[in-house]
């Protein structure tokens, strides 16, 4: 107890130096935590976006992820509705799952018959009501709500396209897409003109779809090769052009109602899905649900080579981004740790020099070397704990203020600005680990000067001027 009291008083004795060290520790700790909170926000925002769009898990054919982009329909899941029902009914899964929904991915050509332009697209058919529910997921309680899903409750031939598709198909004006530059040169160099035979097929589909002008929505024609290898065309009315974040995706994205997509790809054949999206209540249940789901698939569809992939496997960008921020966090922590190490070490070294005679005195009086060591280590530890705890509290305060300000930012790959939220409080491991780690570094930094102090010869220390 007397050691503690002496340590506190010695720290207060040279207030300016102690305060400078304390501030260095507090600023260091709060910097690490605020950056950690920002990283956590990136992770939560990205994860929320991916989970809303594609669920936590997807059931796919084993080869679909690696080989399916060229010909998605070759990797269809048979009896997808039976599988979905089995998952919904399974006791080990029911409590963890919010949405199970089929999707159908296809590749084809989208054309604007009136403008005589077309482009290749990657389309996806979805069950709009399920997608709408998936978009409500908010596992991290972020102030981030998606706009209403326009396909939900819309006509069976409704579609959403990327703004890039709208641009190429010259639909910006009719879809009221802002910041949509017009080409300066009218050229067919990008292959935008529709081949004659395809145009004829599209015209036939358009005629079958009904008279033009029945709806104010612009219409496009979608051409795809069906699973039997023959071309098929459907007409779709475009409700909206949505920014897709990445230019590459924005220029090929088309989303249809599931029955419309299945009609395009499978015609009159038995429709299939290319993926079954599964959204969970909590992300931390992914591993367990994945395992249980594999068991269900083994039981329900043993003849199909189906696998369950989580959103991390399906979105390498997410994993890479999280890894990058993890590395940055580690780098900053090490950087701050080194600063703390040298700051505390310097403070304690100076204290040892200044208090050399005192060290000699207390050693003469009978304090063991370990006692001297303890005194100085205790001082370093107290500086570390005080600075780190204050830094953590400051970080929480700053985070609370920033979170209340309602700031937004545009992360790479995002379709729109996201709320700038610093999730310092949410990551308890980081919140406790950072101050603890820096306190430990401060304590270790004090150890060497303390050890040096304890090794001073008593006579030499008493003679010190």
């Amino acid at each position: 107890m007397i050691d503690l009291s002496i340590a506190v008083r010695n720290l207060l004795r040279n207030r300016r130096r102690s305060f400078a060290t304390f501030i260095a520790l507090a600023v260091g700790t709060s910097s690490v935590l605020l950056f950690g909170g920002f990283s956590a926000n990136i992770e939560a925002s990205l994860q929320t976006a991916y989970v809303r769009a594609g669920g936590h898990l997807q059931i796919q054919h084993r080869d679909f992820f690696l080989f399916g982009s060229g010909n998605p329909t070759a990797y269809g899941i048979q009896d997808d509705l039976k599988i979905i029902q089995a998952i919904r009914d399974d006791d080990s899964l029911r409590a963890d799952i919010t949405v199970v929904t089929p999707t159908l991915q296809f590749s084809g050509i989208a054309g604007n018959y009136d403008a005589g332009v077309s482009r290749t697209v990657i389309g996806i058919g979805v069950v709009a009501a399920d997608q709408s529910r998936m978009r409500a997921w908010n596992g991290y309680q972020l102030p981030q709500t998606d706009p209403p899903f326009v396909l939900d409750g819309a006509a069976s031939d409704a579609a959403i396209i990327g703004t890039g598709v709208a641009r190429v198909l010259q639909l910006c004006e009719s879809l009221q897409v802002s910041s949509c530059p017009k080409r300066t040169v009218q050229a067919a160099a990008d292959g935008a003109a529709i081949p004659a035979d395809i145009a004829a097929l599209a015209g036939a589909e358009r005629d079958a779809a009904g008279p033009r002008g029945a709806s104010n929505r612009p219409k496009i024609e979608l051409l795809a090769t069906n699973s039997g290898g023959t071309p098929n065309v459907v007409s779709a009315q475009v409700l909206k052009a949505e920014v897709q974040g990445f230019k590459e995706l924005d220029e090929v994205f088309v989303m249809l109602q599931m029955p419309q997509a299945q009609r395009l790809v499978y015609g009159r054949m038995q429709p299939q899905a290319t993926s079954v999206h599964v959204q969970l209540v909590h992300s931390d249940r992914i591993d367990q649900v994945k395992k249980n789901m594999a068991t269900v698939l083994e039981r329900v569809a043993p003849e199909q080579s189906l696998v369950v992939r989580d959103f991390g496997e399906l979105n390498p960008f997410y994993v890479q981004t999280i890894a990058m921020f993890g590395t940055l966090f580690g780098f900053i922590f090490v950087l701050i740790g080194v600063i703390v190490l040298f700051t505390v070490s310097n403070t304690m070294n100076t204290a040892v020099v200044e208090r050399t005679v005192e060290i000699g005195t207390i050693r003469a009086i009978g304090l063991r070397r370990s006692g001297v060591e303890r005194l100085f280590v205790l001082e370093g530890m107290m500086l570390g704990v005080a600075g780190a705890v204050s830094g953590a509290l400051f970080a929480l305060l700053v985070a609370a203020v920033i979170n209340q300000l309602g700031l937004t930012w545009l992360p790479p790959g995002s379709g729109g600005p996201l709320p700038l939220v610093l999730l310092v409080w949410n990551d308890k491991f980081m919140l406790l680990g950072t101050p603890l780690g820096l306190s430990l570094i401060a304590t270790l930094s004090a150890w060497w000067p303390a050890h040096r102090a304890s090794r001073l010869g008593i006579v030499d220390a008493l003679r010190h001027v």
Binding site: I2, I6, R9, N10, R13, V357, E358, G360, T361, I362, R363, A364, I365, G366, L367, R368, R369, S370, G371, I458, V459, L462
Partner: protein
């Protein structure tokens, strides 16, 4: 070597040499020291600056080790003790009074006196009993809460005396305790030390280059160039007996 009628000397130095290295040069400070410190006596170490007084006190205080020879303090051969044992030994048997007082500046007068007891894990009752008594004995009861910086030189030295006595040591080492005080305060401190030595029946050995302190001493040891020139011992109610080594 000087012998005494006392059965158990508080300190006994035999054939002690000590030298220091200054750059590459070995400087002998003490040579063939033979000394017996009588228990319960007030011993003064006299000699000019550089005569080896402080070095001899350091050896007696067990804060330094001799190059050769043996040192026995309170019946213990200190050469056989490791550093921790030596620390414990000092804490229990030796009190120190320094020329510059060497109080811990962050502790009050009361706490400075209490500190050696805390090192010994003395109970609160023991501490609460001894510290106020010593404060009173050195006349500083009203200054108990003052920090050293708020005390005069003489008051600080009185706190240091109380601190040296609080664990009831067998030997108190005082290295020129009056050197940084004016002559009047120095005399008062000397009287106080003598008074305390008599009250607690503790052996005091202190160094001085001031020959006027001889009158207060039981024994005087004269050092010159690291060699004991003369030892004079006062027998009870008798004049000094010259027991200089041959």
């Amino acid at each position: 070597m000087t012998m005494s009628n006392d059965p158990q000397p508080v300190a006994l130095l035999s054939g002690v040499d000590k030298s220091y290295r200054l750059d590459a040069v070995e400087v002998p400070v003490l040579k063939r020291i033979e000394l017996l410190v009588r228990p319960g006596h007030f011993t003064v170490l006299l000699g000019p600056s550089g005569s080896g007084k402080t070095t001899l006190l350091n050896l007696l205080g067990c804060i330094d080790r001799p190059d050769c020879g043996s040192i026995t303090v309170a019946g213990c051969d200190i050469g056989s003790l490791n550093d921790d044992e030596l620390s414990d030994f000092r804490a229990k048997n030796i009190g120190f009074i320094f020329q510059n007082f060497n109080l811990l500046p962050v502790l009050s007068a009361y706490e400075n006196i209490e500190y050696p007891l805390l090192l010994a894990d003395a109970s609160a009752k023991v501490r609460g009993d001894r510290v106020p008594k010593l404060l009173e004995a050195v006349g500083l009861s009203d200054r108990a809460k003052n920090l050293p910086g708020q005390l005069s030189g003489g008051q600080r030295q009185r706190v240091a005396i109380a601190r040296a006595l609080v664990r009831k040591p067998k030997l108190v080492i005082a290295d020129e305790p009056t050197a940084n005080l004016d002559s009047r305060t120095g005399q008062a401190i000397l009287s106080l030390m003598r008074k305390m030595q008599r009250r607690y029946k503790i052996s005091f050995i202190f160094s001085s280059h001031d020959r006027s302190v001889i009158g207060a001493a039981d024994d005087t040891v004269h050092l010159q160039d690291g060699v004991i020139q003369r030892i004079r011992r006062r027998q009870a109610d008798a004049p000094f007996e010259d027991t200089s080594p041959s």
